[in-house]
Subunit: 231 residues, 2 copies
DNA sequence: CGCTGTTGACTGACGCATCAGTTTGCTACG
DNA sequence: CGTAGCAAACTGATGCGTCAGTCAACAGCG
């Protein structure tokens, strides 16, 4: 009756576990019917991409499922085969963005010493700016739509924030114990960093500071660590 | 719920007491007919207050004009007597908030030396936090709904921001000339302050840091001026 | 290797609720 | 009694979700 959505079971191993066997040809065929887990996953992604573009363009409330379907090159009903509702679609989209961002930040931290708060901050902040730089739609989704849907969807934004803040707060607290950072509420300080990064990224969508992502990231690190008053 | 909803729910009796001796008494009478410029202005405010509460509660898109009318204790059509459209209503509401906030900031700066960046910052930031502390609905309107309406209404948010930033940037630039503040893009720095204040105010709606407005304001000033690294 | 039955991805029109805005009617004030 | 202030029914448009079909991709069978 209802759409299958997350098809039953779906063991993690099934990701690439399918006997690739025959199909050497491209399983991706934009207009064709999706068959098999690989193609269905591809279609799911195709819809998510379309939704991302549409939602980022016009906002969640203003966009219609018809717009999403059209952008995905599918019929209206097909979208409901993969997602049970408009909200669930947005939910899934946000989850994807969350993971991508988090991955990118971890990447940016690789090889840096977490003992040095300046290095840790710099890595995380640069990675975040770079991520947003390469994906403007994500910025809009996170800082415009996610806000707008207070309550049930703010959880995404604050989910990202909170995890980011947790990590930052830990780094800062450790640095405080070592005397590298002044005594101050670590969580509030960590939130401040996250807020600065987010707001600056959002602002960069509409305002051109004439600065590239790297410079802005360095500015944030310098501001947070050294302040505006000359040393 | 389509046909005659409340057939017999005639309001006559529900309309608070009689005008109890017209005389020079208060021209404000919630249910009464507004006559004269004073009373009409009062009714306008009454609708704006209701709209503020409703919009802050559920967001602009989700709220309906019927909700606003109900909250104002008026009929649906009456709202349209005072405002030509939902958007115009929101527009007027934002304009009011803008002016109130700006007034409050000017108040906070009174008697402080603009020559001292720390004093200027402290005055403006404290005033802003206090304003938001006393008017949570304003925070939501400004930092949630205003964002969400990208384009046509972001002008309000950025209007407030830009003016605030202009002033801050000026103070900072002057301080830079005096060597009180390091060389850095003044506008970006000013925006950072505004962003921090806004985001912290918004966060305080849902998260309890256990800090009161004054402490947070001082934290922001200290962070911006001195940074996290010990001096 | 055709033929056929079955599954399930996909289509698109329709039901139904929601709401912004309009119209019409009513009543208190001057 | 004319009109300003308001009440409430009404209209039209919009958009989410549904559902009865359609048809490609496979069996399994002979």
């Amino acid at each position: 009756m209802s759409a299958p959505v997350a098809a039953g079971a779906a063991p993690p191993g099934a990701l690439a576990g399918e006997p690739a066997a025959g199909g050497p040809a491209a399983p991706e065929d934009p207009g064709r019917r999706a068959v098999g887990d690989r193609q269905k996953e591809a279609r799911r992604l195709q819809i998510l991409q379309a939704a991302k573009s549409v939602f980022a363009d016009a906002g969640f409330q203003t966009s219609t499922m018809a717009d999403v379907a059209k952008a995905a090159g599918l019929s209206y009903g097909a979208v409901y085969w993969y997602f049970p509702s408009k909200e669930e679609l947005f939910h899934a989209l946000m989850q994807m963005e969350e993971e991508l961002l988090r991955l990118r930040i971890l990447e940016g931290l690789a090889g840096r010493s977490l003992e040095d708060p300046r290095q840790a901050l710099s890595g995380a902040i640069r990675a975040t700016f770079e991520f947003f730089e390469g994906d403007k739609a994500a910025v809009k989704l996170l800082f415009r739509d996610s806000y707008a849907m207070g309550g049930r969807f703010e959880s995404h934004l604050s989910g990202i924030y909170e995890r980011f803040i947790d990590d930052l707060a830990e780094v800062l607290a450790a640095a405080q114990r070592r005397g590298q950072v002044i005594a101050a509420p670590a969580r509030v300080a960590a939130f401040s960093v996250a807020a600065l990064v987010g707001q600056l990224a959002y602002r960069r969508l509409s305002t051109d500071d004439g600065l590239d992502a790297e410079v802005v990231a360095d500015f944030v690190v310098a501001l947070i660590m050294d302040g505006l008053r000359p040393r």
